[in-house]
């Protein structure tokens, strides 16, 4: 009984890997200040896979974003999750989210744009947390973020900080809050014209600094800690269609107690601007 409870806590702790909203020329795993043009609609499908010890998590998400103004976008994410752990598989709707991003600063010059944005994402408990492995966290979580971006014809660079505040489940489990740090560089090797296919290569450094979880006020020893990843990625676009992808590989890991380290995370998305 105790072991079963411990296992279900472990499953719940795995839920809620931070996925950043798909938005145009933003980093793959980190976040940038990009928004959408006014009245623009973005539809994206995203495949996300991660492996950590014996746990494998695959998620297929549908995301819709809308440009309220040229500097303000709102979005909705509906993920379909398939999770597997030691031979047990569960699938269904994951935790859905609503998000918003406001670009509060923009400095434009010839063929160059620098900007900064704030963002908020609220993740609701629409995934079934009673399934094994759990499809949802059973809590409402929120992520606030601040991002900066530099985009020229040849070079890109971004930096962002996000903080994830997790809620407490009905069982009394509160997953540890997390701070996420991202530093990203990108290059466009060939300067293509507006109507030609365009490729940008990215290299990200992503840090995740996590607090310990608590269960009914007691600290869960084997939870929380810090992980750093190096993440090569790409963005291929033609006019209003984009394919973006990348792999997150662990660089260093300092997890509390006994926990499986992340093996990899991968992401692939298809995106249309309408």
């Amino acid at each position: 009984m105790f072991l079963k409870k411990l296992k279900s806590i472990g499953n719940l702790l795995l839920v809620g890997l931070v996925s950043s909203p798909v938005l145009a020329h933003d980093p793959i795993f980190g976040q940038g200040p990009h928004v959408l043009f006014q009245e623009g609609v973005e539809i994206a499908t995203e495949f996300h896979s991660s492996k950590k010890g014996r746990e494998l998590e695959n998620e297929l998400g549908l995301e819709v974003n809308y440009g309220v103004t040229g500097d303000w976008a709102i979005g909705l994410e509906l993920p379909y999750a398939i999770k597997a752990e030691t031979g047990t598989v569960s699938s269904g709707l994951g935790d859905s989210a609503i998000s918003t991003k406001y670009r509060f600063w923009r400095k434009d010059s010839k063929s160059l744009q620098e900007s900064a944005a704030i963002s908020l994402k609220i993740i609701s408990a629409t995934g079934d947390e009673t399934k094994s492995p759990a499809l949802g966290s059973g809590t409402t979580d929120n992520i606030v973020g601040l991002s900066y971006g530099y985009e020229s014809r040849r070079w890109y660079r971004w930096a962002s900080v996000r903080h994830r505040q997790n809620g407490t489940s009905s069982a009394g489990l509160k997953r540890g809050n997390r701070t996420l740090l991202d530093f990203v560089a990108g290059i466009r090797p060939t300067l293509t014209s507006y109507s030609e296919p365009d490729m940008v290569y990215l290299l990200e450094l992503n840090g995740e600094l996590g607090d310990r979880a608590t269960l009914n006020g007691n600290t869960v020893t084997n939870s929380g800690g810090d992980e750093w990843f190096v993440s090569p990625g790409f963005m291929w676009t033609i006019k209003n269609f984009a394919i973006r992808g990348g792999v997150q590989l662990p660089l260093s890991s300092n997890l509390n107690g006994v926990q499986s380290k992340s093996d990899y995370r991968a992401k692939l998305s298809f995106e249309w601007h309408l």
């Binding site: 145009a24 040229g70 670009r103 010059s109 063929s111 985009e151 300067l191 507006y194 030609e196």
Partner: protein, 101 residues
């Protein structure tokens, strides 16, 4: 007599030519725009111009930071409207040059 008929025909032809060219007249607007770095993000500009009636030949030169469009006769692009259009697309309008075609 023959001379005056020939003159009349030439005058009518010249008038028709003027009227015809008047109908076909287009104006090219070449606009300097700042912030144009990536083609995917610039799509919003094309989309906004495509919504406007009488606008064709939308060209975006990312390296020069120039957006060029042709406007049918009777369609006039105003700087204030262009400032708003580009701002709503996420860019900064700088200046505009008008050339009759």
């Amino acid at each position: 007599m023959k001379k005056s008929i020939l003159m009349s025909v030439l005058i009518v032809m010249a008038m028709l030519g003027t009227i015809q060219s008047g109908f076909a007249a287009e104006t090219n607007y070449s606009m300097r725009v700042d912030g144009l770095a990536c083609p995917f993000c610039a799509y919003g500009i094309e989309k906004k111009f495509k919504k406007m009636e009488g606008i064709s030949n939308i060209n975006i030169d990312l390296d020069k930071g120039v957006v060029s469009v042709d406007a049918k006769e009777g369609i006039t692009l105003k700087e204030d409207n262009m400032k708003k259009l580009f701002n709503d697309s996420g860019f900064t309008f700088c200046s505009m040059k008008k050339t009759e075609k």
